[in-house]
């Protein structure tokens, strides 16, 4: 499916003075798929159709991203994104859902799970921003005024395209996919909006929820591309250690965009998780740094 077809499937709901574009497919228990940055709901186009055969699949564009509201009129922090999603779920009549978050979407998912626990029945974090692992220097750079001034939309998309191709995937992605992921940012409005999104990136927004992750009382799956060059696996391992009962699923042949590098593995594990099957993998060895930190480093 190309990005225009995906956008054609999107619906729009207005929340006060903002609006959210989203895809709503299938029937069954709801699953919310949250994208990261610089992507949009189209990130899930490979996975969503299959999931929709057994679930109601809801794929929003985060505020400021994709084809949701991108005007300069709202806070784009993770906490505000979570509040907007909570209001959006309310409007759709969804009481609780399984929430899957990738990259920045994983940070929003953490906020949602901690702040609105009744909304989140299951939580899956995929190569998620967490702790102090972010913002990535390149993405943070897009928030600097000099960058926004010097780049044209074409050059910015060219730079992001290079970054995605060289760092995001373990396998060579199709040009159509990369073009689709970046399509909403290929205009001046898109570029300025991305700059506003970048300004909102702040490590405090995950740090503030990290200590609370241990209190989550829902099934949690942490899935990670083992070859992720963007967010190293050690952060996924740490999440598993911090969230009681969390299941760890490294995906060996995948990079940051694991749902495209290993779609069948990701789909199968996600199906199992959503259906409540027992874990098939063990928790990782506890990271050395974590042991030292929690038990007190000598000297």
């Amino acid at each position: 499916m190309n990005w225009r077809e995906w956008q054609r499937q999107q619906e729009v709901v207005e929340l006060g003075q903002r609006f959210v574009s989203y895809v709503d497919w299938g029937r069954g228990s709801p699953v919310v798929l949250l994208h990261g940055m610089p992507t949009w709901g189209y990130l899930w186009s490979g996975l969503a159709r299959g999931l929709a055969t057994s679930h109601r699949v809801l794929v929003p564009d985060l505020l400021g991203h994709g084809f949701s509201d991108r005007r300069d009129r709202f806070d784009r922090s993770l906490s505000r994104q979570a509040e907007a999603l909570e209001a959006w779920l309310d409007r759709l009549g969804v009481v609780d859902a399984a929430v899957v978050g990738h990259d920045v979407g994983g940070g929003v998912a953490q906020q949602l799970a901690v702040r609105f626990p009744r909304r989140v029945g299951r939580l899956c974090l995929m190569d998620s921003v967490s702790y102090d692992a972010w913002p990535l220097p390149l993405m943070a750079q897009f928030g600097t005024p000099w960058m926004a001034r010097r780049l044209s939309p074409e050059r910015m998309v060219g730079l992001l395209s290079w970054a995605l191709k060289s760092r995001g995937f373990a396998k060579k992605p199709s040009s159509e996919l990369v073009e689709g992921l970046l399509a909403p940012y290929a205009t001046e409005v898109g570029m300025v909006s991305l700059s506003r999104d970048a300004v909102a990136l702040n490590t405090n927004q995950t740090q503030v929820v990290s200590p609370k992750l241990g209190h989550l009382a829902v099934p949690v799956l942490v899935m990670w591309g083992a070859k992720d060059q963007v967010l190293p696996t050690k952060y996924g391992e740490r999440l598993v250690w911090d969230i009681p009962g969390a299941r760890w699923m490294p995906v060996p042949e995948a990079g940051h965009f694991l749902m495209w590098d290993a779609p069948h593995v990701v789909a199968m594990e996600l199906f199992r998780f959503l259906e409540g099957e027992a874990p098939v993998t063990r928790a990782p060895e506890r990271p050395v740094a974590e042991v030292l930190w929690s038990e007190g480093a000598p000297g």
Binding site: R8, E188, S193
Partner: protein, 299 residues
């Protein structure tokens, strides 16, 4: 006419950036269109233009003149055949939401820009434009962009997609210089729709009654410009004294003013083709304020 440079919003600096901000606030639109961006390539003229026109543009009288002009356009085209482009293409709900927003934006903006173009052209040709009112005596409009107005989003003037590139070349050739009009670059976000619309709009533009209607609108806009409440203090001598190229500015202003009536007629047909569009999208709140308040609060 050689391709004329435009100053994009994110590249505007100094006084041009300030005037862009003033324009957005006073016209109450979410972006600065092609005509104004083209003028901004002559920055000293651009600032002088805004100093001369701004006191007019912020009044209720200006809005009523523009609304009257737009009503004239609607009355003319409502008798013409239905365009049929909106129903002819397969657009999804999100695409229709955004395309409708783009049309509402241009409907709110272009009649006002037409009045500005007419006023400047007449002033540069030596006419006395505007009455001798005293600024501060008339009802001013509340500044600010209405909350539901869409972002002004454009496809690049030379898009990578060959079909749209060809379409843009045809549009520019048909409507005249300088550059592809903003509404067509906006509608190119949905290329199938733009293609369907242009295929229907173009043949009508050759008809005698279309040309007569465009000429009538041009004259009407000039009459209305002459009736602006405050004198537009702009002349060739003033522009020359500022060190700008008067001939180049006059030439581009004439080109813009020549083509805008045709664009308004087409825009009206596009708007009337959409069943649920808001016909009165942006009524501006008004208040009567003395000059000293305006000096601090509105400027």
């Amino acid at each position: 006419m050689a391709r004329v440079k435009q100053v994009s919003e994110h590249r505007a600096e100094g006084d041009v950036e300030r005037v862009y901000h003033e324009l957005r606030q006073t016209l109450r639109v979410s972006g600065v269109d092609v005509s104004l961006r083209t003028w901004a390539a002559h920055p000293r003229f651009f600032v002088a233009m805004w100093e001369a026109l701004g006191p007019n543009v912020e009044t209720r009288a200006f809005e009523e003149l523009a609304a009257g002009l737009w009503q004239e356009v609607l009355d003319t085209t409502v008798r013409w055949e239905v365009l049929g482009a909106w129903s002819a293409v397969e657009l999804g709900p999100s695409q229709r939401f955004h395309a409708r927003g783009a049309l509402e934006l241009y409907e709110a903006m272009q009649p006002r820009v037409m009045l500005m173009l007419s006023a400047v052209r007449l002033a540069l040709e030596g006419h006395v434009v505007g009455r001798r009112g005293v600024p501060g005596e008339l009802e001013r409009l509340e500044r600010g962009i209405p909350s539901r107005m869409a972002a002004m989003e454009w496809v690049a003037p030379k898009p990578r997609d060959a079909t749209t590139r060809t379409l843009f070349a045809d549009i520019e050739k048909t409507v005249g210089p300088p550059g592809v009009p903003g509404e067509y670059r906006a509608l190119a976000c949905w290329p199938e729709y733009l293609e369907a619309a242009w295929r229907r709009l173009k043949p009508r533009m050759k008809d005698d009654d279309f040309r007569a209607a465009a000429e009538s609108l041009r004259e009407s806009a000039r009459r209305r410009a002459l009736a602006l409440p405050f004198e537009v203090a702009l002349s060739r001598e003033r522009v020359a004294a500022l060190g700008e190229n008067v001939e180049a500015i006059l030439k581009v202003t004439q080109a813009l003013e020549t083509r805008l009536p045709s664009l308004l007629l087409n825009l009206s047909r596009l708007v009337q083709d959409v069943p649920d569009i808001l016909r009165q999208p942006m009524p501006g709140a008004a208040r009567l304020v003395p000059d000293w308040v305006a000096a601090e609060e509105l400027r």
